[in-house]
Amino acid sequence: MSRKISFNCPVQAGDEDRYRIQMGPQHPATHGVLRVDLDLDGEIIRKCNPHVGYLHRGFEKLAEHRTYVQNLVLTDRLDYMAAMANNVGYCEAVEKLLAIEVPQRSRYLRTMVCEMARLASHLLWLATHALDIGAMTVFLYCFREREELLEIFAELCGSRLTNTYTRLGGVRQDVTHSIMMKLEKFVDSFPSNLEEYETLIDTNRIWLKRTIDVGTVGADEAVGLCLTGASLRGSGVDYDIRKHFPYAAYDFMDFEVPLGETGDTYARYRCRIEEMLQSNSILRQCIERMPPGPIIGDDAPDLIMPNKPGRKVEVDVPAQQSLIKLVEDRETFMEGDVYVATEVPKGELGFYFVSDGNGTPYRMHIRSPSFLHISALKTMAKGSMLADLIAIIGTLDVVLGECDR
């Protein structure tokens, strides 16, 4: 049976000699459902137009119809490679809005899971980046390491990817001795494993040829493009939210922010590798300095919902949907707006809340790093070759769940 194929790329006037190619949404190298429309001249990209939105699930709208506690599960599905970091980011923002105090132990626990999530995410990034460039064995080695972390997650909160570990005012569950033992074992063995990947990749001439001087972006340009995270630090800009707006227990941690110089794909790759080592050292500090105490604060909002003294349930039926709004009588629960950013593996993840005193956010805006990174692709890919585009997408470390929300 013959079937019709069409490419949906109409030829416009003046474009007849351009070779138009549509990469994605189903393409092995677009990390999910990114679509990139390319104008090629031979193999050189003349124009690159990324299209996103193929995973737009309406997070921000959905959040307006749910309570602050209910919204926590949504954040897992943002950057599903590092769900823990998103949980922490969300909780930090809501706690600032509701002025909830977090006990010291749970701050340390949050730092710990954040860094574990960073390692898991960076390992996955290294795996897919290497696979995109063609080194398929690194892909599987990285997954081996990542699996250890995921199993620790599973033991900690019962889930591998979508953890929902944090709670407003603390975390859900304390660590057990066996988790700490496993983590310690991981922390001890990780640097030598990382070295193994580096020997596979970093000493490889082909890898260096494929990454050095590819997708170069200068410091000022990177700031203008609103790049954050390792993609920005690869260009030598010292901006890390863990240092600039310390949250959780990063105040008490001793770590460095690795910076690149050249701003090319290789510099970003080096930055992330160094970051993994720093994360490892933060994890070690967490294990050593973990303070005793409660894991959830006294003034944390209670999860047992209706009919508790001091709470009232208000049924509000707007025009087209019926939704029970749980209104909490908290003094600290005011009208206002707040923006809190955290450093997730991809970059700066910020939550902007507008509250009008209800139990649900009036407006929740998620500032996702991947969204801005993809928009930077347009500038970065121009003039490079088709194979470089793959390397650039890989090095920007985008995840479409976070980008499209």
């Binding site: 079937r3 138009r20 092995p28 080695y141 194979a387 793959i390």
Partner: protein
């Protein structure tokens, strides 16, 4: 009668080579699996031994899609050209003394001709599919084959000079007679050039640009399904086999080994071929992929000057030796 025997010989050769192709994929998956700390096929047959047969059966009974906008006749012809060209080049390979279907005097040239013809199949496939990815894959393949055919040819000139013939059996005999036993010892540079160009010629990692999965989906075979895809697959593996065989014949002493094997003389030949195949797979598991312009740069700026220099030095040495 002679024709009948020849036909039987051809049938046996084709059957053996097809079986080899099937199991080469199995070995590749197994070896790469073990290099990547996993097992490879395990559950279809004992240790996955029936895996290639299951793949074959499945492919044979898949639907055969021909895109609407494709050039139908060329689309159908491309895999056949590819496979036929590769299969024909098998006929001149000497597996052991006297074990060649056609012991012709221009065997080496014949193989070059046929492997270039196979790349026609690839280009036609890329063009006839009328899809952008396949066209890019076809163009890449064309450029790659043209540049590396030169390097591979020049690298073998040294061998031709030393053996004084283009007949593959006689090249092996020349190595058997020579002092060092194998041309790899007297022609190491040529072997180096040949090996790299061989990887490029068979579209293997790190030169698998025509079918770079993360760039061009599947390159020139993106639009092929079912049996036609399997034919390209077979052609690729036969191509690997042929190239490895040339390497063995020209550099590694062909069927000669440390001692003669009485009942089944090609054993050394096959072992050597499989050693080169193992190198192919090892490289695939280790190296990333080159970029298109870098590939061209290696071909023109490194391999061709090297092999020209090699010819010069070989000629000089031969003149001095006389």
């Amino acid at each position: 009668m002679q024709i009948l025997i020849l036909l039987i010989q051809i049938a046996i050769l084709v059957a053996v080579v097809l079986l080899h192709v099937a199991y080469a994929t199995y070995f590749e998956r197994k070896i790469i699996g073990h290099m990547q700390v996993r097992m490879g096929p395990m559950l279809v047959g004992w240790h996955g031994l029936l895996q290639p047969i299951a793949d074959g059966i499945k492919s044979f009974f898949k639907e055969d899609i021909i895109p609407d906008q494709a050039d139908k006749s060329l689309f159908l012809a491309a895999p056949i050209i590819c496979l036929a060209a590769m299969m024909v080049s098998l006929s001149v390979l000497p597996f052991a003394k006297g074990w060649a279907l056609a012991d012709i005097n221009v065997g080496l040239l014949f193989i070059f001709a046929m492997s270039s013809l196979a790349s026609y199949g690839i280009i036609l496939a890329g063009w006839a599919s009328n899809s952008k990815y396949t066209l890019l894959g076809g163009i890449r393949s064309m450029a790659q084959v043209i540049s590396y055919e030169i390097a591979i040819g020049l690298s073998l000139v040294g061998v031709m000079m030393l053996s004084g013939t283009l007949n593959l059996s006689q090249i092996v005999e020349a190595q058997g007679n020579s002092f060092f036993g194998m041309f790899i010892i007297s022609q190491p540079v040529a072997f180096f050039v040949f090996f790299i160009a061989m990887l490029a010629e068979t579209n293997r990692v790190p030169f698998d640009l025509p079918e770079a999965e993360t760039e061009l989906v599947s390159g020139y075979i993106t639009e092929y399904s079912g049996m036609r895809y399997a034919m390209f697959f077979m052609a690729e593996y036969i191509g690997m086999f042929v190239m490895a065989s040339i390497g063995v014949v020209c550099f590694l002493g062909g069927w000669y080994g440390p001692f003669a094997v009485p009942l089944f003389p090609p054993i050394w030949f096959i072992l050597k071929v499989y050693f080169i195949m193992f190198l192919f797979i090892w490289i695939r598991a280790t190296l990333p992929r080159y970029r298109y312009d870098q590939l061209m740069a290696i071909g023109w700026k490194l391999l061709i000057p090297l092999s020209l220099g090699n010819i010069f030095i070989t000629g000089l040495a031969m003149t001095l030796a006389q």
